[in-house]
Amino acid sequence: MLATAPSATIPANAPQAATLPPAFEPRLLAGQLLSAGPESWEQHRSRLGELPGASARRAIIATIERSGLIGRGGGGFPVGRKWRSVAERSRRGAVVVANGAEGEPRSAKDRALMHLRPHLVIDGGLVAAQAIGAEELVVYVGTEHQEAVRSMRRAIAERARRELVAIRLVEAPRGYVSGESTAVVHYLNARDARPTFARERPFERGVGSRPTLVQNVESLAHAALIARFGDAWYRQAGRCRTRGTALVTVSGPVLAPGVREIEYGLTLAELLAMSGGATAEIGAVLIGGYFGGWASVEDLWELPLDPIELAEAQLGFGCGLIGLLDAEACGVRATARIVGYMAAESARQCGPCIFGLGAMATALERLATCRPVPGDLENRARWSLQISGRGACHHPDGAAALLTSGLRVFRDEFDRHQRGSCAHPTGPVEG
């Protein structure tokens, strides 16, 4: 994981850097060994140099746009376009929120980044603040990620007095929806981390009624490197169509599960090899997190882990979770567990999410335990349609899409459960 010799040229307008992160090596996780823990301000600065000066700030949005950087929280929205939307409205002084809530239960990449490379996150937040005219940077960290909280606090203390932008850390309450952008703004304004249905979006009217950019911490960390080394450097990585590198979390039966940085376009086969190989036969993969979907190993094996390629295959890169399911595990139970979790994590504000998602989870639980009642599968199809797009946020849509993918990948298993038996009654429960 250590950085090696630079393999790209430094753009003329870039500041002098001690070393340029190599294009096809880890970028976010370059530097000292990850086992050495958080990188200090001194180490960070001597490795990467200072951020570009004020004169370069105006051009940064165009640079980010040219880089093709997409958001890493799960939605994949172009970062440059998002910044431009806020910048156009930021006359009153905008706010940047570095979103490290990471409520996705099996994703660990944001907490790892915040823990190990906290100054890269702050740098990205400062670049965004400069670009959109913000005077405040809020680092919003999931309260369950205490290692990340401590590391970010220490890093903010090392930086606070040097920067013109006010930086503060706010711990995000537990909960799957706490990181949804309107929930983030709601929490920072009113200590209530439930999504809202305000007329104006956060980029129009957010924290303290000011235009607010809510951006995932990994997206910001990439932006910090693009600001230093340019869009052409960023675009050197990527084996397929989407450019750049990405943090992924590999979970399930592999020798070395955990967070890794990959080039977009790596195949699942390569990622498994990087992870020490599988320790059991893999049957299916949950890709992109609980907002993503199931794919069979056969379908995914040679497919590039590339957001564009995955979208064409009706899958999503999402938050970069690669959850491997043991071939001996029951796909119906694994799907029911996730939908049940999503139903329990509803903010319980919108009828379709409370009742529709709840009913779906209950029916699925009956099916998983081989006690279906007539109509469960038929209702499921209607409920999926009824709940999608009908919440203040997309929580119910995500659960419906996950279930749809489960029905496709585990069709035979679902049919068997509908008839009252399970092919893997004693298989591992993880899913």
Partner: protein, 90 residues
């Protein structure tokens, strides 16, 4: 300039009065919450729609310019590749 109907999902408590007034564009789901047909509101329903906005007991219904309609009033494609506004704030 046309308008569209939008339901504030947080406010809506499923009274269903909107569906009684505007069966042409609003139906109720299995739990009595409105499903609004997407797109522009037909001009001849405008008066009834304004009435529906007024009588909603929790003021959850709005008439908005179509470009301001949020959170897909019609069910989205269920394919998981649908770009969902994620919980990670991009």
């Amino acid at each position: 300039m046309g308008t569209s109907l939008q339901v504030d999902r947080v406010r809506c408590e499923g009274f269903g009065m909107c569906a009684e007034l505007l069966p042409e564009v609003i139906e109720l789901d299995d739990w009595g919450y409105p499903i609004v047909r997407g797109g522009l509101l037909p001009e001849d329903l405008r008066d009834l729609a304004e009435r529906a906005v007024e009588v909603c007991p929790v003021l959850a219904l709005r008439l908005v310019p179509p470009e301001r309609v949020r959170s897909a009033l019609q069910p989205r494609s269920l394919a998981p590749h649908t770009v969902l506004r994620s919980h990670g704030g991009g």
